[in-house]
């Protein structure tokens, strides 16, 4: 069955002529047609273009020309990342008619390696949320349990990979938005070191935190995407000026002797089921020769207030550009220039986006900036330092991804309660360090639970190696939601 194989095997079989690109694309298009009515992971599907591109790749192969690292592999892309000629709604009414006029750098790099972009995935509006329920356009359901959310904000990407509707997907992670849906959907999701993947063409939310992240069914496929995407870019001056790395070959190997730090104090109060799976994960790492040591990340209990001050401040600045003048949906009720701004934003933005814009405007406003924004930036300095000290004692930090498995749709209504969901994820973004979520077990209801492995800045390969070693010793990542296995 084509959809149960890894992207690496899929590419290999295409290169050897066992599967044509057209047959691969058709297989996944059929799966989308069959299953996505239930799951709701895609906002738009590129049927015609994907098939055209597959035909082109089949010809390219037949003519013996060299093929890229992602040849014939379908990739889905979160709808806040631009793909030229495709809708890029960001899950917002405001951009519901917006067609990307150019490619994001990440998109361009995928296509240069002969990937096939199969469609755009649902997300919380402008990536603001932890359940994909904030999408103004459609609901996405968790393939493991359709009553539950897929997590968010990259919930469409998580659900699409979990349902094997696309073998690879790109999400974005500002405060856990790749790792948390990966955990809820039982797939692998990686947030690289800040600046490893170009943000050019990613619609900005919190620019000092945003990072595009690959999602796949296994760590090797994530490493493959990192080989293609992890490079500096002249269009994003925050990309790290370093050449690409050989993630796949460097990630192989043992983790014997690796010190794994656990911030026990910060993890106090972990719910029993999450604790059981986390403890079991640590035992597996120990059985592979890793040693568990305690590290102090006690400041992370302040990561949520610091994050929501910094992220909303940046969001209020970034989202000011959506004014209804040059693109986006202009309010039909508007008759003056002022009304274009006021009414287009009123009609175009959902409640969470409005809350965050107003909050960001408040924390940046005269008289409060020192109390909130500057204070949060100082706390961020201390959090970065605490991570740095922790990494003096260990090579990798382990933590849960989420305090609980996927929650039911509609069950968290209070905005502040929803912010707390990402308590274990947000510190990583504040410190700009790389972190991965990998499948590590199931709750008693059969919903997946992820394990988070975190490395120091620029040690992306070490994170992938630890994840890969864990995966080699377990089979959690091979589980497919039963309804979508065939």
């Amino acid at each position: 069955m084509m959809h149960t194989s890894t992207a690496i095997d899929m590419q290999d079989r295409f290169l050897r002529g066992e599967n044509s690109a057209v047959s691969i694309v058709q297989h996944f298009l059929q799966r989308i047609a069959r299953y996505d009515k239930q799951i709701g992971s895609f906002l738009s599907v590129n049927e015609t273009k994907a098939l055209e591109r597959a035909e082109h790749l089949d010809k390219k192969r037949a003519s013996g020309r060299p093929l890229g690292k992602l040849a014939a592999i379908p990739v889905s892309i979160k709808d806040n990342i631009l793909v030229k000629g495709c809708l890029a709604t960001c899950g917002s009414k405001f951009l519901s008619n917006f067609i990307a006029p150019y490619d994001a750098t990440a998109t361009r790099l995928l296509e240069e390696e002969d990937a096939i972009i199969i469609g755009k995935t649902n997300c919380d509006e402008f990536a603001m949320g932890s359940s994909t329920e904030n999408s103004a356009l459609q609901m996405t359901y968790n393939p493991w349990n359709l009553k539950c959310t897929p997590g968010g904000s990259s919930g469409g990407s998580g659900a699409a990979v979990a349902g094997r509707l696309s073998p690879l997907s790109l999400g974005s992670d500002t405060g856990g938005s790749v790792r948390q849906p990966a955990s809820f959907c039982g797939v692998v999701g990686f947030k690289p070191t800040y600046g490893r993947i170009s943000r050019s063409g990613l619609v900005a939310y919190g620019s000092s935190l945003d990072q595009i992240g690959p999602m796949a069914a296994c760590t090797a496929d994530v490493a493959l995407l990192m080989e293609v995407l992890g490079r500096s870019c002249e269009k994003d001056s925050t990309t790290i000026p370093k050449g690409p790395e050989d993630y796949l070959s460097k990630m192989d190997g043992s983790i014997r002797g690796l010190k794994v730090g656990v911030p026990w104090q910060f993890l106090e109060g972990l719910l029993p089921e999450a604790k059981r799976v986390f403890d079991q994960g640590l035992e597996i790492l120990k059985s592979l020769g890793a040693a568990v040591v305690e590290v102090d990340l006690s400041l992370l209990k302040y990561s949520i207030p610091a994050y929501y001050i910094i992220a909303t401040a940046e969001a209020s600045t970034n989202l000011a550009r959506f004014d209804g003048i040059r693109y986006g949906v202009r309010s039909p009720r508007s008759h003056t220039l002022e009304e274009i701004y006021d009414l287009s934003k009123e009609e175009g933005f959902g409640p969470e986006v409005k809350r965050r814009i107003l909050l960001g405007t408040y924390v940046l406003s005269a008289g409060y900036q020192d109390d909130y924004y500057k204070k949060a930036q100082k706390v961020r300095t201390l959090i970065i330092k605490q991570y740095r000290d922790a990494f003096q004692k260990c090579g990798i930090i382990a933590s849960p991804v989420s305090p609980f498995p996927a929650f039911e749709i509609g069950s968290i209504r209070d905005p502040l309660q929803m912010y707390l969901v990402d308590i274990y994820n947000i510190g990583v973004n504040l410190a700009g360090v790389p972190a991965i979520s990998i499948p590590s077990g199931f709750c008693h209801e059969g919903k997946p639970i992820g394990l988070q492995l975190i490395g120091p800045q620029m040690h992306d390969v070490d994170v992938l190696r630890a994840a890969n070693a864990f995966e080699q010793a377990t089979d959690f990542h091979q589980a497919i939601p039963p309804e979508y296995a065939v």
Binding site: F98, I99, P101, Y102, T193, Y194, G195, S208, E234, S237, T238, P241, L299, Y302, P305, S316, D323, G324, I325, R326, Y327, G328, V329, S334, H335, T336, L337, E338, E339, I340, D342, K345, E346, F349, K354, R355, I357, L358, L359, T361, Y362, S365, Y368, D371, Y372, K374, K375, Q377, K378, V379, R380, T381, L382, I384, D414, P415, L416, Y419, G432, Q457
Partner: protein, 100 residues
């Protein structure tokens, strides 16, 4: 840190140019109030003599390039997303100045 009022909410909606009904302002006040109270716990941390974080990657340097014109988006492609029919190569908006 201060208490949020309905006037502040009104001012914030004006600053960020989002029209807002009275009802919406009420619920925003309730939600944001709660979040701001939650933010106050940051005051438990002593940040005396701590530098605010300006960039998360240490030793970042300015990236410079020659000031050369590269490829740009053709006007007709740009206008595909314009909310009103363009006029004479320009984006259309309602009159900004009143007549008379």
């Amino acid at each position: 840190m201060s208490k949020l009022t309905k006037e502040t909410i009104k001012k914030l909606t004006q600053l960020s140019r989002i029209a807002c009904t009275e009802e919406e302002q009420e619920s925003l006040l309730r939600d944001l109030e709660k979040v701001l109270v939650y933010f106050e716990q940051l005051n438990e941390i002593d940040t005396e003599n701590v530098e605010p974080c300006n960039h998360v990657i240490p030793d970042i340097v300015n990236v410079m390039r020659e000031d050369e014109v590269g490829p740009t988006l053709p006007q007709e492609e740009f206008f595909r997303n314009a909310p009103a029919k363009p006029f004479d190569g320009m984006i259309r908006v309602p009159p900004v100045l009143k007549q008379g």
